[in-house]
Structures are given as structure tokens and as C-alpha cells.
């Protein structure tokens, strides 16, 4: 047993190293020919080598490795053309405001080319600077990549940023690629008609990986090499045990909060009917009620009536009775009375 511990540590270290290193996690994407990776790579590489402007939209639900694939492609390109690429990354969450976005673009351009940057410059100045820079970069055979994450959030308001970016794509001197990432499938429908006409409508769809794919990925990640003398099932066992314990903790909490039921009167009546040993004062129950509110297991029925005292506002239960029953079943310390009560209500 003592000998197993260092082995386990070792295995853990290996696995952690793998899981935290994105290059390994996503390396199987590279191999197969007809994937989004190779399509995107072709698209982007050809726009670098043929000096054309492009705009691409990567669509798909979250967790479908849109960003990972893009990162890999850009990484590869950087290796191929070390000098000829500069990157601007924007996120719709942070830069959906046009002024703020142009400023951020100017800042990143300055940083990349070791120019000094002024926070004070007006947004017109920044836009002019961006256009000048695009031109200079185009003359120097540099391709500028604009990566816009949460693309749908840029499509709010007048879409001035998108318009000026996409309009700049239509001049000869600038050489740039706009890559939008969005999890909204209708992201291109959100664009204003002028912007949409300038957008080149290249879309790459990322679909959630199928069960086989995930299994393969997991095998790729979690299978230990033959030469490291570790039992393979060690890891899986460990993982499953972890989940089980985690789940039980969660459910225990849920049950606890249920234990103090919401409405005082109801509680009183139950108390009277069953004469249980544990009696709680009103204040304790009120605390419990607040507790439930905090946990968002119950919520107020309507948003109006803010000035009404807390006790008299109508509330709603947010979890289903089925969940309640399950959690009560699981909790061993729960008084029998409650279960009986619940059962009776269900069959009534």
C-alpha cells in the first residue's frame, strides 16, 4: 500500500500535465483531413499567401472547440510566416462598445509594433490610426487578424466597428482577416443589411462532438502509457469516487434547506398535527425562509411590491416536487413525518 502512493502521485502528475496543456488536448484534431481545422487552416493560410481579405464566422454551441481550433491554426501560421502576422483579439463581453473597441484595437496594434500608445486619443484618432496601420501593414505584407469573440455582442447598436472593419476589407491596400466566434447560430442574421452585404458569409459550423469522439478523446487523454507501470483503472475509479462524494454533499445541502419549510402557518399545523419533538421558534423559521431565498430555491412570485414586508410577499417554489421527494429519500436524518406528508400530498 505504501508503495502505491508514490505511483498514484506520479500518475496524477502525468495526467494533470496532460489536461492542463491545450496542445496535447487538441492534438488529435490536427490529424484527420476533413475537419474544421483543415478547412479553417486552408482559408486563413490562403488569405495570407494570396494577400486577400476574408471574413469568417465560426459558429457552434459552447465547448465545441471553436477557439481551440482557431488558436491552433493561428499558432501554425505563426510558425510558417513568423513575420507576417499580427493579431488583434477582442471580446464582445468587454469591447462591445465601439469606442472602447477601437481603442483596444489601437492599443494592441501599438503593443505589437512597439509604438507608444496614448489613452487620451479620441475615437476618431484611433479609427484613423487603425486604417493607417492596416494600410502600412498591407504594404509590408503583414496580415492583420481580428479575432472577435462573442461576435453576436458586437452586432448591437449601429455596428460601426463591424462596418468600418468590413469596409476596410474592400480596399486594396489593407490585408486583414476578420474572424468572428459566436455560439448563436443566427449571428450573421443579426448584422445590419449594409454590414451583412460586406460580410463575406464564410461560415464554419462546429457541432458538438459525438459520443465516439469524446470517448476517443478521453482515451487519448487518460490512458496511461504502457511503460509507466500504472494500473489503468486506477484513474477512472478515482474519478468516479470523486463525483459520487461531490453529489452527496450537494444533495445533503438541498435537503437541509428544505427541512425548514417556508410558510409559518403550515409549519405550525404540521407541528400540531404530528407533535414532533423538534419545535422551532418563529424567528428561526424566518431565518430559514431567508436562507431559502438566498439559495434561490424559492423566489418571489412577482417583482412588484418591493415595499411589502418580507413575510407577506407571495413566493413560489422553484424546484419540482419530484426533486423534493428524491432528496428526502436520500437524506437519512430527515424526520419521517416530512416524508409521510409529502407522500400523502402526492397521492391526494
Amino acid at each position: 500500500m505504501a508503495a502505491a502512493a508514490p505511483v498514484a502521485d506520479q500518475a496524477q502528475a502525468v495526467l494533470r500535465g496532460r489536461l492542463c496543456y491545450p496542445a496535447i488536448v487538441h492534438s488529435p484534431l490536427r490529424s484527420s483531413p476533413d475537419t474544421n481545422y483543415s478547412k479553417l487552416k486552408y482559408l486563413v493560410a490562403s488569405s495570407v499567401s494570396e494577400a486577400c481579405n476574408n471574413s469568417v464566422l465560426l459558429l457552434g454551441p459552447r465547448g465545441c472547440r471553436k477557439g481551440a481550433v482557431l488558436d491552433m491554426v493561428l499558432e501554425d501560421l505563426k510558425k510558417e510566416h513568423p513575420d507576417a502576422i499580427s493579431m488583434i483579439r477582442l471580446n464582445g463581453m468587454l469591447h462591445s462598445d465601439d469606442n472602447c473597441a477601437t481603442k483596444e484595437i489601437a492599443r494592441q496594434l501599438c503593443l505589437e509594433h512597439q509604438l507608444s500608445f496614448s489613452k487620451m486619443a479620441s475615437s476618431d484618432d484611433n479609427t484613423d490610426f487603425m486604417i493607417d496601420m492596416l494600410r502600412e501593414c498591407g504594404l509590408a505584407h503583414k496580415t492583420v487578424f481580428f479575432v472577435l469573440e462573442e461576435y453576436d455582442l458586437f452586432a448591437q447598436g449601429k455596428q460601426r466597428l463591424l462596418y468600418s472593419l468590413l469596409d476596410e476589407m474592400q480596399t486594396l491596400t489593407s490585408q486583414a482577416v476578420v474572424i468572428g466566434i459566436s455560439c448563436r447560430l443566427d449571428a450573421d442574421q443579426l448584422l445590419e443589411k449594409r454590414v451583412r452585404s460586406r460580410f463575406s458569409h464564410r461560415k464554419l459550423l462546429f457541432v458538438p462532438s459525438s459520443l465516439d469522439d469524446i470517448q476517443r478523446l478521453m482515451e487519448h487523454l487518460l490512458m496511461l502509457d504502457k511503460d509507466s507501470n500504472l494500473p489503468k483503472n486506477y484513474v477512472t475509479e478515482y474519478n468516479s469516487r470523486l463525483t459520487v462524494s461531490f453529489l452527496s454533499i450537494l444533495e445533503d445541502k438541498e435537503q437541509n434547506s428544505y427541512n425548514f419549510n417556508s410558510i409559518m402557518k403550515e409549519y405550525r399545523s404540521i407541528q400540531d398535527a404530528y407533535k414532533t419533538s423538534d419545535k422551532y421558534a418563529t424567528t428561526v423559521c424566518f431565518r430559514a425562509f431567508e436562507h431559502l431565498l438566498d439559495r434561490e430555491l424559492i423566489t418571489f412570485a412577482d417583482s412588484k411590491g418591493r415595499n411589502v414586508a418580507l413575510e407577506y410577499r407571495p413566493v413560489k417554489l422553484l424546484i419540482s416536487s419530484r426533486e423534493l421527494a428524491e432528496s428526502l429519500d436520500l437524506n437519512t436524518t430527515c424526520p419521517v413525518v416530512l416524508q409521510k406528508l409529502l407522500d400523502r400530498e402526492r397521492y391526494m
Binding site: Y42, L115, S116, S118, T127, D132, R160, S164, R184, S200
Partner: protein
Amino acid sequence: MDLSATPTPTRSKSKPKSSPSKTIAASAAPQMDFSTPSKPTPRRKSKSMASPPPMSPATPSTVRRSRRLLETPTKDLSETPAKDLSATPVKPKPTPTLKRKRAAPSPKTPSQAEPKRQRRLPKQRSYYRKVVYDGGEFAAGDDVYVKRREGAESDAEDPEQEDCRVCFRTSGGVMVECDGCLGGFHLRCVRPPLRRVPEGDWACPYCEAERAGRAIDRPKPPAGKRIRRTAKEKLLSSDLWAARIESLRREPDGAFWAKVRWYIIPEETAAGRQPHNLRRELYRTNDIGDIEMETILRHCFVMSPKEFRDATNEGDDVFYCEYEYDVHWHNFKRLADIDDEPETKEDPSDEPYNADNDYVSDTDEDSEYDEEDEPATRCVARKNPSQGLAANSRTGRIYGLQKIGIRKIPEHVRCHQKTALEKAKATLLLATLPKSLPCRDKEMEEISTFVKDAICNDQCLGRCLYIHGVPGTGKTMSVLAVMRRLRSEFDSGALRPYCFIEINGLKLASPENIYKVIYEQLSGHRVGWKKALHYLTEHFSDGTKIGKKANQPIVLLIDELDLLLTRNQSVLYNILDWPTKPNSNLVIIGIANTMDLPEKLFPRISSRMGIQRLCFGPYNYRQLQEIITSRLKGIDAFEDQAIEFASRKVAAMSGDARRALEICRRAAEFADYRVKQLQVGQTPSSANRGNGVVCMGDIEDAIQEVFQAPHIQVMKNCPKFGKIILAAMVHELYRSGLGEVLFDKLSATVFSWCHTNRELLPGYDTLLKICCKLGESKIVLCEEGTKHKLQKLQLNYPSDDVTFALKESPDLPWLSKYL
């Protein structure tokens, strides 16, 4: 050795050595395919050794050629001692005809010569546009050879004609130039002898042998005879310099000086000679020097790639220059003026601006150089490394941007032979401006008459043209094309000077900023918008001067006019009110999408704007087809019916030309991708050549990508419970007949289905999470997840789509019975 069969486009040039000999020039001068501007192939020339014909008069068109005839080697500069010249003013045989420098763009206004006055000129520097110096006529903008002081080894001789590398004689018929070593060979001296000048690349037997790895002795010159080197060879072996004259001046003491911009040969750059450099390639530097005129040897011709390709007859001293080299940062940049050909769209507002500037100013300061090129600012920029001058602020702009450049010119830019598909992709780019703009002749005619009336006939009063049409119908393009045409008319002197301002409403930070922009364009000053409005109104109504250009007729183009709408519509009103003012010389062209924009405005605005309108209807399929085929002329990459299919499809949907071009480009990309994948899979030789054509399938794919929402595919690939939820939603919505469903009910259905079909029961919160995920990609519309079971859900796509997508799902065969 027949190289003419190579697939590369052949270029053959006939290069009479010292004189244009018509017969040979005609014999081998078919120009081939020049549609690949990015990569010029090395050129071929034949050198004729014909005897010089009688001197031709120096008409402007033949200046280049005849200039070389004017200065014969006997009168060569280098033979005159350096000091001699300035001391004895009698020396220059033809008295220097000094022409006052006037940057008059039109030849109609003759730059009059002010002859023989220079003796009595006041004691100050005087600048000249053209100087006839020692037999040669030099003007600003000319390229010249410049002597290097130290290497005066053999500057004295300047042979006009090159010796044959085999027989070492100059005379004796046509010579051909090797593309490898640039040596000249008589046709008959080559083994085997050539009958005529070969087309395409030609390498001499020695170069061929070296390329093949064999050692071969080049013929040695006969004893006692020195190899004479032409100026070109000296330059390329860095014994001479080449420079472009930026300005010419005469110092108070009478000496002529020139400010020159140096050229540099690839060997002298930090990157060294790169494999893709052409033999005759030079880089223009940003290094500017002052030299005395007597160090100038004679003319050479440094050309942009386009000129270089078209050049046929300029002799031996032609060089190729595509890049600028920054001597301080050691990096390269394409020369901007290559792309500044008149047909580019880039910054059209600026160009007339500068032109006007030149026209009016006959001052002698050298102000027409860009501030970037000014050596003084450059030095300043270098000395204090832009402390406190941020590049993105207005004042700091000039100090930062020169830094941008590339260390080494990437090889793929120049050595890449484009396939037909790649050519097609390039020409279908929205950025490339086609040579002709079909299908909009009538509209352009109307715009043209409108603008011309304003400029020529002073019919400006209260005139405004409103252009409307859906996006991608060529509104802006037509106006800009008209303005370009007018510009060239103006350049040739057929038109009065005018001022053209282009503003895009969507690029303004706020509608009021338009005053600022207009005022800045007119006067060159930057003020706040309120002040600008004040000045402009004053100018237009009372005629106060705000700048020298403001008095010319002004053509104001406002793109995306509807963006200028404010709540009280004051911006539009103010702008549209100007043309009605008595002192204004202003016409406005407004462009917007909606047809009834004037009707939506207050009546006082629509009465000023809505009189003259021009509608750009959506293109029909014939027009789209014509647009695409005119772009693809000469490139055999598309099936005809594929183009027709694409244009019909787009015409049915929107009539947007941008869309049609993009679809075709995307289809070309698909085809190219297919071809390249094939080549990766097999050996390149076995790749199917016939596949390299865009066919219907590619167009179909492209159209699908553009027009079809991807939701069905996403639904098909949903996780299992996602599918169940979607199916349950369709079921519930159908049963209840309502538009939305509560999560509580939905989950109940899901649980019961799972129960009856022996699926693993999902957790309640798992279901909730899946719902939120579906909501995120907008397959369903849902409220925020905190509402748990009270969350309302709604399908975002028709339920038929869901049914279609989920009908056959392999992992859930039982699902179809509920649909």
C-alpha cells in the same frame, strides 16, 4: 532548347541597345498575359546592335529614348573635371535652360521657360523643375546614376554598348540577354546558335551549366582587351549609385545641387540578396542626400512593376523597383504608389485635394513631399524616440508608422505561380477594382452630368442628388468611378479645378462630426464641430474665406446619409441648406438605402433634398452574370452554367453584386481546396487536372453556406437529451396550441418518455442546463435559468425543421413516434 513551351506566360521584350530599331522591336514584342501583378517574371530582351538612326526631335513621348542620344560618350560628365564646371560658366555647351518650377499637371498650361536669366538671379537659392545640365536634361522625379567618389576606378568610360560575352565585340547583330547573369550574347555566338530571340526565360549556356552543377569556363577576353562594363553592371556591382532626383536647386554661388533619394541594390540591404530578387531589382530607400549635379552621370530608368512589364524600348538602363527599404529599421515595404494607380479606390478624397494643392502653389518650397519622407522630421523622429508622442494620437502619427515593415520579403509573395483558380479568386475579390464597370452606364452618365454641370456651368445653386438602392448595387462605386473619370479629365486640363469630399456617415463617431470633417478638408485646420459649423455657415452664406480650396466648386459625397439623422434633424438640415446659400459653390450627393428617406424627413428638409433622385435597382441575373464574366475574362476557371446558376440564385434573393462575387469566390475556394487536398493525398503529378474548374457542386455548396442557417445540422448533432427536449417541446406545443411551454411541463414529459422507453433518467438540473445551452445558440428562446421550473421556453425555428432534423436519429429510434 525550346523554352517557349513552358506554361509560364512568356514575355519577350526587344531591347535595342542604343537606339530604337523598329524592325527588331516589332519582331519580338508580343505582350502576353500581365494579369498577375504580384510576381513579374524575369524579362527577356534582345539587344540590337544596329547603327543609330538619325536623331529624332525630343517630343515628349520620345524623351526617354532620345535623351540618351543627346549625350554622347564624348560629352560625358565624368570627363569634365569637377571644379572646372562651377568656376567657368561657359562650359555647359547648351546654356542651361531653366524652367521655373511649376507643378502644373496639365500640359495645356505651358511651363514657360525663363531663359538666360540665371546670371542675374538674386543671391538666394532658387529651385528648378528642370535643368539642362551639361547636355542632359534633368528634372525632378528622374532617376539617375550617381558616381561614387571612392570608386572612381573606371568611371571615365561609359560604354553605351555592351560587349558580347563570347566574342567580346560590340557590333555584329542582335544580342540576347541572359536572365541569369545579365550578360549579352550575340545570337550567333551562342552554341547552338539561335535563329531569333527566344520567348520566355532564357539562360545562357554558362548559367545553365552552373545551375546544373557543372563547372564551366566562361570565355576569357582576348589578351590586352579590358572588359568594359556598362553603367548597369557597375551599379549592380555597387560601383555606382542610383538615385531619384527629388528637387533641383541652384545655390547662391551658382553651383547646381540636387536633393536625391537613393536606391539600393539587394546586396547592400540587411537581408542580402534573396533568391527571389530579380537581377535588375533595386530598392528605393528613405535615405535622402544632397549631391552636386556634377556627380550625376546620366539617366537610368527605375520602374514600378507595371511599367517594367510594359517597357519595351528604354535601353539597357532599366531597373525594377517594387519595395521601399527603410535604412534605419532595415525593413521593407511595398511602395505605396504602386497601388495608387488611378483606378484604385483607396482614399479617393485625398487625391483631388493634393492635385489642387499643386496647381495653386507655385511657391518654391519643396512642400509636396509627404511629411513622412522629409529628412528633417525623420531625423527628429530618430533622435527622440517619440517620447510622449503616441502613435495613435494625431500628432504622433508621423513618427510611428515608418517602423512598420517586414524584415525580409517573404518568398511566397513573389515566387508563387498562380493557378487559374487562384487568379480567379484574386480577381473576384471585392477589393480588386475591375477594369470596367458594366451595367451601370446610364446611372453613371447621369451622375456625371450632374457633377459636370456643377463644376463647369456653375449650376450649383440648391442642387442635391439623392441616390438610393439596396446594398451591393454599386452606388458608391459608380459615384467614385465618375469622380475618377473627372479627375483624369482634370489632369488632362479639360476641367476646372474642383474639390471632392467623401464622407461616410457610418464612420463618423457622431453625426455632428461631419462639420468637423468638412471643415478640415476645406481648410486644413481642426476645430470643434460647433466652431466648424459656424465657420462653414459663414463661408457659404457670406463668402468669408476659410481656405484656398473652398472657393472652387465643392462636390460633397455623403455615403450612408440616413446615419446623419438626429432627433431634430438639424445636421441634415444644415448641410442641405448650404447649397441654397448665395455664396456657396456646393453640390451634395447623398447615398442611402431607403427609397423614401426624403419623405420621412421634415418637409423643410425633403423640399431641399428630394428633387433629383437616382435609383439603383437590384441587379438582375443577366447583369450579375455580366459582372462576373467581365471580371473573369481570360481566366478559365468557371463553368459557364455555374456562373449563371450563381447569378440567378443571387438575383432571386437580393440582387447584391457583392454577394454574387463572394459566392463565386467561395466556390472557387471550395474547388481549390478540393484540388489541394487531392494533391496532398496523391503525388502532384497524378492529381486530376480536369478537376480544377469550379463546377455546379461548388456553387451549390457556397450558396448553401451563405443562405442556409445551420440549425438543422446542429439539431442533428445535439446531445441525446437535447434531442429529447426538442422533441418534447414540439409535442407539448402541438398539444397545448400555445406559443410557449413551461419548463415544469416539459420536464414532466421528458421524464415520462424516458421512463417508458427505458432511457436513463436525466437529472432535473441536467435538463435545465441543456435547455440553457439550447437557448444560448438560439435554437430555443428561453428566459434566464434562475427561474428554474417557471422558465418559459419557445422554439426559435419552425417545428417542421425540428421534426425533420430529428426524424431519423440513430441513437434514439423511439423518438420518431412522438413526432
